[in-house]
Amino acid sequence: MRHINRHPTRGMRFTLVLLPFVILLAAYFLGSAVRLEANPQDKLLPGMQQMLDALSRMAFSPDKRSGDYLFWMDTLVSLVRLLTGLAIASLVGLCIGITAGVFPMWRASLSPLMTVLSMIPPLAILPVLFIVFGLDELSKVMLIVIGITPMLARDLEHRAREIPPEILIKAQTLGASSWTLVLRVVLPQLLSRLLTSLRLLLGSAWLFLISAEAISSTAGLGYRIFLVRRYMAMDVIIPYVVWITLLAWLMDLGLRQLHKTCFPWAEGGKA
């Protein structure tokens, strides 16, 4: 039988899903055990116990100096920055995407502009953001906004242009004006796409957030990782990275569920 025609059964599939994770974890903890055996003070590959200790220190006991629970404070600060950035980027991206996608006059100006802007590496202009917006919250949020808005706008513009012309003509024969057509025909279809685009751009958003936090910040998940790097505290860094991954994965899952609930018609119409 050709390999392209071989499908895993249910149980097999489950095993195959878990297998790479199990292998990775096993390899790590094996390496960690070997190194700790040789040197119990080893910091490079901390074992489960060291990481749990570090986590309980960060998450469940107040910081000696400030009295904050650092882990939760970092999480809160980072999430606020990330979600603010994503919200602003969604709003701006949606407006630009629809305008460029639906109105040819606007597209003539906006579409090439967005193409060029999306080519600017956002991290390269991070210093500019720090100079213009200062070193506090605004510049970090702006980095996320500047990083993902052009991509979002371009994607939504393409999506708007993929709406069959027949649909737009039909709406006009039903008496729609440009405005009501956008409101009732284009916008609902693009909101569905927005959620999908956001899922794809979450990774970039986290990247920009952590970069900005690493360079100039006083709290946040990215800040903490780069701070404790000085002490080679892998026992803190690894749980933080796992936590960030978990948060990103949960956001992805949440967006997918939201899409299913809000836009059943886009999922093959199974209402």
Binding site: P164, E166, I167, I169, K170, A171, Q172, T173, L174, G175, A176, S177, W179, T180, L181, L183, R184, V185, P188, Q189, S192, F263, P264, W265, A266, G268, G269, K270, A271
Partner: protein, 258 residues
Amino acid sequence: MSFIDINNVWQEYGSHVVLERLNLQVNAGEFCSMVGASGCGKSTFLRLLLGQEAPSRGTLLLDGKALPAEPDSSRGVVFQRYSVFPHLRVLDNVAIGLEFPQARLLGRLFGARKREARERAVWMLEKVGLGQALDKYPAQLSGGMQQRLAIAQAFIMQPRVLLLDEPFGALDPGIRKDMHALLLQLWSETRMTVFMVTHDLSEGFNLGTRLLVFDKVRIDPHEPNAYGARITYDIPLNEARLAEMTGTAPENVYALRS
């Protein structure tokens, strides 16, 4: 003066001539079927009537006035595909036609006016046989039901002209027959002027009161795009049906044939 007056219309894309010297008079309430080989300008002519394109030369008059240069609610349309809104349920797909003209700001009605619009939409949907599918999304409907929905959308607007672009081209023969009956019934009730492009000759002959055949009169084998198509045959059909419809003798059908 006829209802629709087409004077010396040409349509060219660069050096590609699609339609040349098209002249046609159509009276209110006529049902024109348009047939012809692929690429001979039937759909182009429909787009001109719809206002989706402007003719290179010539004029199209509706009731003595130039046709608006963009689609509007005076002309309804049913396409072969993509005629319905995928994100709206069946009921909203029809009700939206009543909401657009009344709600200029939000495109959406509320309260009593919304209920009224929905009641009319339900009535229309029951007429086309979709009374059981009000809460479904178009993707859940079969091809035939989607076209029924598209027809309901078009008819609820009571446009003066209805344009059909191979509306039943993708349907099974059996379902097609049902759709013909539905279309004829709605047409006889509303007395709309209908233009229908079709590839199916028997459909063209059966449905219309007038058959327009598009073909190229002149062909240059070295330059196939140098000459455009014209209406080569203009055949009155089902004269009894037309006479019943308009209540007058169908002489005017022959107006063009000289």
